[in-house]
Symmetry: C2
């Protein structure tokens, strides 16, 4: 065992990820803003810390998964943040999905404090986190990746070292561009069929095995036609990722035509109070324009 491991952020994703590290025999020092969420892990043997600085004081490897860049910044640079107590040579592995440019800035800051920093966002959702089957997209220095790879594989099915710092979040952005667009395309096609008076299920049956096949089509079709909008992956979270895509795209100078459409569709639905619905409710944008509903023809 390589000493204690830090884990900061015990939300829907972080808690099962931390548990999987413990299942593999690692001793954890944990911190969460809402301390109650750490209770279960502490009962299983994790050391509860009262600040990120306390975690940093005890650990050479610190995992971190919070909502967005301002939260990462607070954990790192806040009053009782990691940088107040960073051990020389310690590595912070930020598994949050944030703007890749923010990752690049945090890397510089942590380096200047004598440690190192990686971005390692995940995909696979809550179930993937519970099952230890996440896809982990890693950006950072080679030596740091070698140091943390086995730990990442306690939480993920695969950990791909994509490139230097920021590459993890660039890859996550690419993933979110494709998944949002593919999902909107499904909504666009099924609404087209429904408005034309054709049974969306028969359309799906006819085209699902061909070039229109996608993981999003396969995984969301039954939810859409069954009018089941329980999350899954909430619009409120999906739009946060798309915001990061849009702001990063502007900074890089690259077009995000379809993602911009998807972002605006989600904005409208969130304004309508649907932010807690699954992201497949993007079909409701199309349905509202068309004045129809995607459902099975009996």
């Amino acid at each position: 065992m390589a000493g204690k491991i830090g884990f900061i952020g015990l939300g829907i994703m972080g808690k099962p990820m931390a548990k999987n590290l413990m299942k593999h025999g690692h001793e954890l020092c944990v911190y969460n803003r809402t301390q109650a969420k750490a209770k279960e892990l502490v009962e299983e043997g994790a050391v509860l810390c009262e600040t990120p600085a306390q975690v940093a004081a005890r650990c050479d490897i610190i995992f971190l998964i919070v909502s967005d860049a301002p939260d990462v910044k607070a954990v790192l640079e806040g009053e009782n943040g990691i940088l107040n107590a960073l051990r020389p040579g310690a590595v912070v592995v930020d598994m949050s999905s944030i703007n890749p440019n923010a990752s690049r800035e945090f890397y510089q800051t942590v380096k200047a404090h004598g440690g190192s920093y990686m971005d390692a966002p995940v995909s696979g959702g809550e179930q993937g986190a519970i099952d230890g089957k996440l896809t982990i997209m890693v950006g950072g220095d080679d030596a740091d990746f070698d140091r943390v790879k086995d730990l990442l594989l306690c939480m993920g099915r695969v950990a791909v070292h994509v490139g230097g710092i920021g590459s993890g979040n660039v890859t996550k952005c690419a993933n979110q561009i494709i998944t949002a667009s593919n999902l909107a395309a499904v909504g666009e096609a099924l609404t087209f069929a429904a408005k034309a008076g054709v049974d969306p299920r028969k359309v799906y049956d006819a085209i699902k095995g061909g070039m229109a096949q996608s993981a999003m089509f396969d995984s969301k079709f039954e939810k859409i036609i069954g009018r089941d909008f329980k999350p899954g992956f909430k619009l409120d979270l999906n739009i946060k990722d798309l915001k990061n895509v849009l702001s990063a795209a502007q900074a890089f100078g690259t077009p995000v035509t379809l993602t911009t459409d998807c972002y605006e569709m989600m904005m409208m639905l969130i304004q309508q109070g649907l932010g807690q619905d699954d992201n497949c409710s993007i079909v409701k944008y199309y349905e509202q324009c068309a004045g129809t509903e995607v459902k099975e023809v009996q």
Copy 2:
């Protein structure tokens, strides 16, 4: 053997489709505007007709695959068109990809002449046509479908009776909405990665097995990163399908947000002289906006 079968339109798709009918033992009467293209089939035993009317005079089942609705109209209603010699109770199976509203109009016209009409567009491309592995999406009356199903299965892996007349082309439109959008999304994501300085191949490797997976991503990634824009499915043909989607969508009153973007991207590339390139060259729209190229980092 149920008498002679008509086949009109011996282009890239029609010729191998007709061949597959002959391979299954069916005798064909064939017509093509450019007669020379019929030569090979005639040498194999097909009866060459000089007009669509001559085909209609001899056959109770007539397959038809031409470019777009005006071509179908000419074959049906032109000077020497099918309707001049339609046998009572004959069925015209139009396998062209056209606006579903045009299919609905042709159905009415053929019915008024004592025959019947179905729309049965295909997907699967030239290779699918050669291999007899097309997906055939069929709209029309139940009795007509029963009559032609076995013949369709000489040409296709599957023939799905989606619904009444027009349903075949509605399904084809749904397929084209999804395939174009999924392909553009791949271009958007890979250009984003390239502009951010991240190797697109590593991005693909990291996300291809997850929710970003699609048949388009799987089938076009190597072409894009290998800068291989030989068709495949040409932009010139793809944009014709998208035109049909847009005009049908306007008639039905349903939004086609992403498809409209894809259509405009393809318009630009066609103006640049790229109409004969594979549709995966849609990535060049993104690359031109970003001033970068999606290629492997050595």
